[in-house]
C-alpha cells in the first residue's frame, strides 16, 4: 500500500508517545515496541508517568509518556531526544517538545487544540497556528473525529469510542515506519482478547490511522528501520520488574526450592509482587504483608523454614527493613532484598528514578552488618542478576541486596529467551539429618558458610537468634567471640568475591579515561564511552554488577587508566565508596539528581568538559 512514498532507511529511531494519563499511552508504546520487535528491531523503552492515578485532565502535570528506542543496531538506552513525538493534546506537546529533535516529526490530535485545553496547557496561543512549530514536521490529524467516524458503525457510546484514539496514532506511526498492519492488528486483538468488542473497535481505529497516512499529502517519505543483527532465537519484550520476578522464580526452580516473596506494595517495585502473585501454578507463594517490616520478616520466617525467600521494595521500604536485614545478617539466613530505587529522600518523587540508595544498601543497619550488594544493569539483566542474587544468597547463606531502579524496572528490552537447562545449578548447603557434629555456626573452612538445618530435619534441633552467638549457637557476650564473629561475618561476604566474574573493560583497555558505572545507567554510560572514544578521547568503560564485594580485579582495572570518572544518578555515592575501598587513586565524578535517566549527549558533553580541564 504505502509503496508510493519513498522509504528512508534509519539505523535507529526514538519515538515518544505522550498524552493525558487516561489516553492509553503506555499501551500504545508497548504495542509499538512489540510490533517493532517482531519486525526484527532491537529496542529499549522508558515509561514516564505522573504520580497521580488520573492527574488533572489536559494539564502538564497530568501528562503520561512512553518512549521507545528502536534500531537495527544494538540499542543501549531508551534514547535521548526523539525523532517522532506523538502528542495527544496541547499539554503533551507543551511538556515534551523540549525532548523532540530539531526537525522531528510531530503527530498531534488537532481536535484537542481548542481554547480551553490550550490555555490549561499553559500556552497563550495555539501552537499549531502561530508558526512556533515551523522547524518541525507537523502532522496535525483530527484524531478524535476520525476515531469517532471509524467506529461509528459499531454503535459505541462516544466515551468508549474515544478511548481508542491512541490506536489511530499507532496506526499512523506503524505506516510511517513501514510496519506490517496485519501483525499489528493481531497484536491488538490479542491484547483485547477478553473484551472482543473493544478489540474490534481498536482494530478499526488502528486501520483508520494507517489509511490516513496513505492518503496524506503532508508526508513525503516513510522510514524504515532494518532488522538488528541479533543472535537468532526466540525473543520476548520484557520489563525489568517482570524479569526480576522471573529471575527469582527461575532460581527457586533451579535450587529445587519453593519461592516465597513477602512484600508490601510500593512504586516502582509493586510489579514484582504482582507478577509473582500470578504465578501460583509454579508453587510460588506471595505474602502481601501489612507493611515492609512484615514483608521482610515473613520472608525471614520462610527462609528459616527452607524456602528461597525474597522481599521487594523501593527506598522508603528498604529503610523500614533495615533492622530486620540485621536479623538475617546475624542468623546468616539466605534472603534476597530487591530495592527498585526511586528518587528520594523520603517519599521524594515516587515515579521518578534515581540511584540514591547505594549507601543505604551498604550501611543502613546498626552495628557491623555486612551483606552482599548487587545491581542490575538493564531490564533483561534484571533476570540474570536476580537469579545470581539468589544463587549467592543460598550458597553463601547471606542476605543479598539487589538494586534495581524505576528506569530499568519499568523499562523494557528484548530478551533472548534462555533455556532453564543452561542456567547454572544452585546447591544450598543443607545440613545432613542427624549429623552428630552439627553446630549452627560451624563454617565451611573455605567459604566460611554455615550449614542450613531446616526445621523438620531430624536430629538437628537448634535455636537461632539476634543475639551474638558462639559457634554452638549459645548467646554470648564474650569479647573475643564477638570480635571473631564480626570478622567472620565480614569475611564470609568478602569470600563471595572468589566466585563472581572479573570486571571487563569495554572500549580502550588502558587508555586515558575510564568511565565507571553501576546499576541502570550501564547503557547510557557505555554509549557515552563509545562516543567519547570516537571523539578522540581514549576511553574505556567498566560497569559494576557487584558492589559488595567488588570483583577481584577491581584495583588492577581502576589503576590501568590515567583518569577515572564515576557517573551516577546521585550525588556521588559509588565514587565515595571507591575512595574508601581503593584510596590510592583519584576519582572524578559526573552526577545528576534529577529523577531522569542520563541523556547520552549530556554525558558526552559534560564529561568532555571535565576531561579537558584535568
Amino acid at each position: 500500500m504505502s509503496t508510493k512514498l519513498p522509504k528512508i532507511n534509519l539505523d535507529q529511531v526514538v519515538v515518544k508517545f505522550a498524552g493525558d494519563s487516561g489516553d492509553g499511552m503506555q499501551l500504545t508504546g508497548t504495542l509499538f515496541s512489540e510490533i517493532s520487535a517482531k519486525d526484527g528491531n532491537d529496542l529499549s523503552t522508558f515509561p514516564d508517568y505522573p504520580a497521580e492515578i488520573r492527574a488533572p485532565h489536559n494539564t502538564v502535570s497530568g501528562v503520561s509518556g512512553f518512549q521507545v528506542h528502536i534500531g537495527s543496531k544494538r540499542i543501549l538506552t531508551s534514547g535521548d531526544h526523539c525523532d517522532v513525538l506523538v502528542a495527544m493534546n496541547p499539554a503533551s506537546l507543551k511538556a515534551n517538545l523540549k525532548w523532540a529533535k530539531m526537525g522531528a516529526t510531530l503527530l498531534v490530535d488537532a481536535d484537542t487544540f481548542v481554547e480551553e485545553a490550550i490555555n490549561k496547557a499553559g500556552y497563550t496561543q495555539n501552537p499549531l497556528g502561530d508558526g512556533s512549530l515551523s522547524s518541525y514536521s507537523v502532522i496535525d490529524a483530527p484524531i478524535t473525529s476520525l476515531t469517532r467516524a471509524a467506529v461509528l458503525e459499531l454503535g459505541l457510546d462516544i466515551k468508549t469510542a474515544e478511548k481508542s484514539r491512541n490506536m489511530f496514532a499507532l496506526g499512523v506511526l506503524l505506516n510511517l515506519f513501514n510496519k506490517d498492519l496485519q501483525v499489528a492488528a493481531q497484536q491488538v486483538e490479542y491484547k483485547f482478547r477478553k473484551k472482543p468488542q473493544i478489540g474490534e473497535a481498536n482494530k478499526k481505529v488502528l486501520e483508520a490511522g494507517w489509511i490516513y497516512v496513505e492518503n496524506l499529502e503532508l508526508i513525503s517519505s516513510t522510514f524504515h528501520v532494518g532488522k538488528a543483527s541479533m543472535e537468532p532465537g526466540n525473543y520476548r519484550n520484557i520489563t525489568g520488574n517482570i524479569a526480576t520476578a522471573w529471575g527469582l522464580a527461575a532460581a527457586a526452580e533451579k535450587a529445587g526450592l519453593q519461592l516465597f516473596l513477602g512484600s508490601y506494595p510500593i512504586t516502582p517495585a509493586t510489579d514484582i509482587l504482582t507478577e509473582l502473585a500470578s504465578l501460583k501454578s509454579l508453587g510460588i507463594k506471595t505474602f502481601q504483608a501489612e507493611d515492609e517490616i512484615a514483608g521482610i520478616c515473613s520472608a525471614i520466617g520462610a527462609s528459616l523454614t527452607g524456602s528461597l525467600a525474597a522481599t521487594s521494595t523501593s527506598g522508603p521500604g528498604l529503610a523500614l527493613k533495615s533492622e530486620a536485614i540485621g536479623l538475617a545478617v546475624m542468623t546468616e539466613l539466605p534472603l534476597v532484598v530487591v530495592d527498585v530505587q526511586r528518587a528520594g529522600p523520603s517519599t521524594g518523587m515516587p515515579t521518578k528514578s534515581e540511584q540514591g540508595d547505594l549507601l543505604q544498601a551498604l550501611y543502613g543497619r546498626n552495628g557491623e552488618s555486612p551483606v552482599v550488594v548487587m545491581a542490575a544493569s538493564s531490564p533483561v539483566d534484571c533476570f540474570y542478576t536476580a537469579f545470581e542474587a539468589c544463587r549467592i544468597a543460598l550458597e553463601h547463606m547471606t542476605p543479598v541486596i539487589l538494586l534495581s531502579d524505576g528506569y530499568i524496572g519499568n523499562g523494557s528490552q528484548l530478551m533472548k529467551i534462555p533455556r532453564m537447562a543452561d542456567l547454572p545449578a544452585i546447591h544450598p548447603p543443607f545440613a545432613q539429618p542427624n549429623d552428630p557434629s552439627y553446630k549452627p555456626y560451624q563454617r565451611d573452612l573455605d567459604t566460611l558458610v554455615r550449614k542450613w538445618a531446616v526445621p523438620g530435619t531430624e536430629g538437628l534441633r537448634h535455636r537461632l537468634g539476634s543475639l551474638e552467638k558462639t559457634d554452638a549457637g549459645a548467646a554470648s557476650t564474650d569479647p573475643e567471640n564477638h570480635q571473631r564473629m564480626v570478622k567472620l561475618r565480614a569475611q564470609k561476604v568478602q569470600k563471595v568475591a572468589g566466585r563472581i566474574p572479573e570486571l571487563k573493560i569495554e572500549g580502550d583497555p588502558n587508555g586515558d579515561l575510564l568511565l565507571i558505572s553501576w546499576g541502570g545507567t550501564c547503557g547510557a554510560v557505555r554509549a557515552a564511552a563509545e562516543r567519547l572514544h570516537k571523539k578522540g578521547i581514549s576511553t574505556g568503560h567498566v560497569h559494576f554488577h557487584h558492589i559488595m564485594p567488588v570483583p577481584r580485579n577491581t584495583a588492577e582495572v581502576l589503576g590501568r587508566f590515567k583518569h577515572r570518572m564515576v557517573c551516577e544518578l546521585n550525588s556521588g555515592q559509588f565514587a565515595g565508596y571507591l575512595r574508601m575501598l581503593f584510596p590510592g587513586l583519584t576519582y572524578e565524578q559526573y552526577n545528576e539528581v534529577t529523577g531522569q535517566p542520563f541523556i547520552v549527549e549530556n554525558l558526552v558533553n559534560s564529561i568532555t568538559k571535565i576531561y579537558e580541564k584535568l
Partner: protein, 344 residues
C-alpha cells in the same frame, strides 16, 4: 489444616524431652518458669515430632523461652515474631509453629503484626506473657499497664488506658483466645493443648507475674485465697459457675452480665448462662473478655474457639488449584509463554 499434615512422633513423648537443658536465666520466682513448664508439657501432648515444632519469639524476658525448649527455635527481634511466624507457617505448613511474646513485644512494637496475624488466621499458637511491664528493659510501663501505675517511665502514674488483649484480639477477628493465670498449670497446659489443636491463630494470654518490676500485678485476680471468687473458669458447653462451691454464676440481664447465686433470689441452675466458645458471633465472647473486678469475676480458660479457614490452608489450596488448571508448569513454560517471536 489437612489432617496428618504435621508428622506425629512414633513413640509417645514426655515433657522432659522438650526441655533443652540450657541454663534458664529468669529471675528466681518469675512467672515465666511456670509457663515453660506448661508449654513443654503441652508440646509433648500434641504428639508431634520435636523436629516438626518451631518456636518463634521476639525480644523480652519472655522471648528467651526458645532457648529452653528442645525444638527448633528462633529468638528474633523486638515485636516481629508474629510476622516471622506467619511467614514460617505459610511457607512451610508441615511445621507446628508456636510463638512466645510479651505484652510489650506483642502489643506495643508488635501490635500491628499481632492484629494482622489474627485477621489472616495463620495457624500459629501464640503464648502471650502479660506481666503489665517491660521486664527485660527494667520496668517501663507497657500497653497493658493499668491507668495510673507508677513505673520507671511514669513516675507520676501512667495517663494511658491499657489494652485488654482479649478485646483487641476479638476486634481484630481472633478465632481462638484463652486467658490463664500463671499459677494454674493445669488450666494453662489444657489451654495450650487446645490452642495447638485449633486450626488458625490461637492466643493464650498468661497473666504472668514479674517479681522484680511489677510484683503482684495480677494478685487481686490470682491470689490463691481469693481466686475461686475472682476467676470464672470457662468450660465449653458448661454453665458459667464459680466460687468455692460453684454456687455463683453468670446471668444475662439485657446486654449486661451479672453475678447471681444459685438458690438466692430464686436463681436456679438452669438460669446460668452456658459457655459456647464455638459460637461464631463474638459478642458474648467480648462480654466475657471485658469482665473485671470488683463487680464481675475475670474470665479464664478458652473464651473463644471458632472454626474458620486458615490463611495457610487457603494459600495451599489456591496453589493446588492453579497447578491443576494452569498451562504454566515450569519456568521454561513461563519463559516461552505469551508473546514470543523468533528472530533469525
Amino acid at each position: 489444616m489437612i489432617e496428618g499434615r504435621i508428622a506425629h512422633s512414633d513413640i509417645p513423648l514426655t515433657k522432659d524431652e522438650f526441655v533443652s537443658g540450657s541454663m534458664v536465666k529468669w529471675c528466681p520466682g518469675c512467672g515465666d518458669y511456670s509457663i515453660l513448664n506448661c508449654l513443654t508439657q503441652a508440646m509433648a501432648r500434641t504428639g508431634y515430632r520435636k523436629e516438626d515444632i518451631l518456636l518463634v519469639s521476639g525480644i523480652g524476658c519472655s522471648s528467651r523461652i526458645p532457648y529452653y525448649v528442645n525444638t527448633y527455635g528462633f529468638h528474633s527481634i523486638h515485636g516481629r515474631a508474629a510476622a516471622i511466624a506467619s511467614g514460617a507457617k505459610s511457607a512451610n505448613p508441615d511445621l507446628s509453629v508456636w510463638m512466645a511474646t510479651g505484652d510489650g513485644d506483642c502489643a506495643a512494637i508488635g501490635g500491628n503484626h499481632f492484629i494482622h496475624i489474627l485477621r489472616r488466621n495463620v495457624d500459629v499458637n501464640i503464648i502471650l506473657f502479660n506481666n503489665h511491664i517491660y521486664g527485660l528493659t527494667k520496668g517501663q510501663y507497657s500497653p497493658t499497664t493499668p491507668m495510673g501505675t507508677v513505673t520507671k517511665t511514669s513516675p507520676f502514674g501512667t495517663i494511658e488506658q491499657p489494652f485488654n488483649p482479649a478485646e483487641l484480639a476479638l476486634g481484630a477477628g481472633a478465632t481462638f483466645f484463652a486467658r490463664v493465670p500463671d499459677n494454674n498449670p493445669k488450666l494453662m497446659t489444657d489451654c495450650m493443648e487446645a490452642a495447638a489443636a485449633h486450626d488458625g491463630t490461637s492466643v493464650v494470654e498468661v497473666l504472668q507475674n514479674c517479681m522484680i518490676f511489677a510484683n503482684k500485678a495480677h494478685y487481686e485476680i490470682t491470689a490463691r485465697e481469693t481466686r475461686d471468687d475472682r476467676q470464672l473458669i470457662l468450660e465449653d458447653g458448661q454453665p458459667m459457675l464459680f466460687g468455692k462451691d460453684k454456687q455463683k454464676g453468670l446471668r444475662l440481664n439485657g446486654l449486661q452480665l451479672e453475678v447471681v447465686e444459685i438458690g438466692k433470689d430464686g436463681v436456679r441452675p438452669e438460669d446460668i448462662l452456658i459457655h459456647d466458645a464455638g459460637h461464631e458471633d463474638p459478642i458474648m465472647h467480648m462480654m466475657l473478655s471485658r469482665m473485671a473486678l470488683p463487680d464481675l469475676p475475670v474470665a479464664m480458660g478458652i473464651i473463644r474457639s471458632v472454626k474458620q479457614d486458615t490463611y495457610d490452608d487457603l494459600l495451599e489450596a489456591q496453589i493446588n488449584e492453579q497447578k491443576s488448571v494452569s498451562k504454566i508448569r515450569c519456568m521454561d513454560d513461563l519463559l516461552n509463554s505469551g508473546d514470543v517471536f523468533y528472530i533469525s
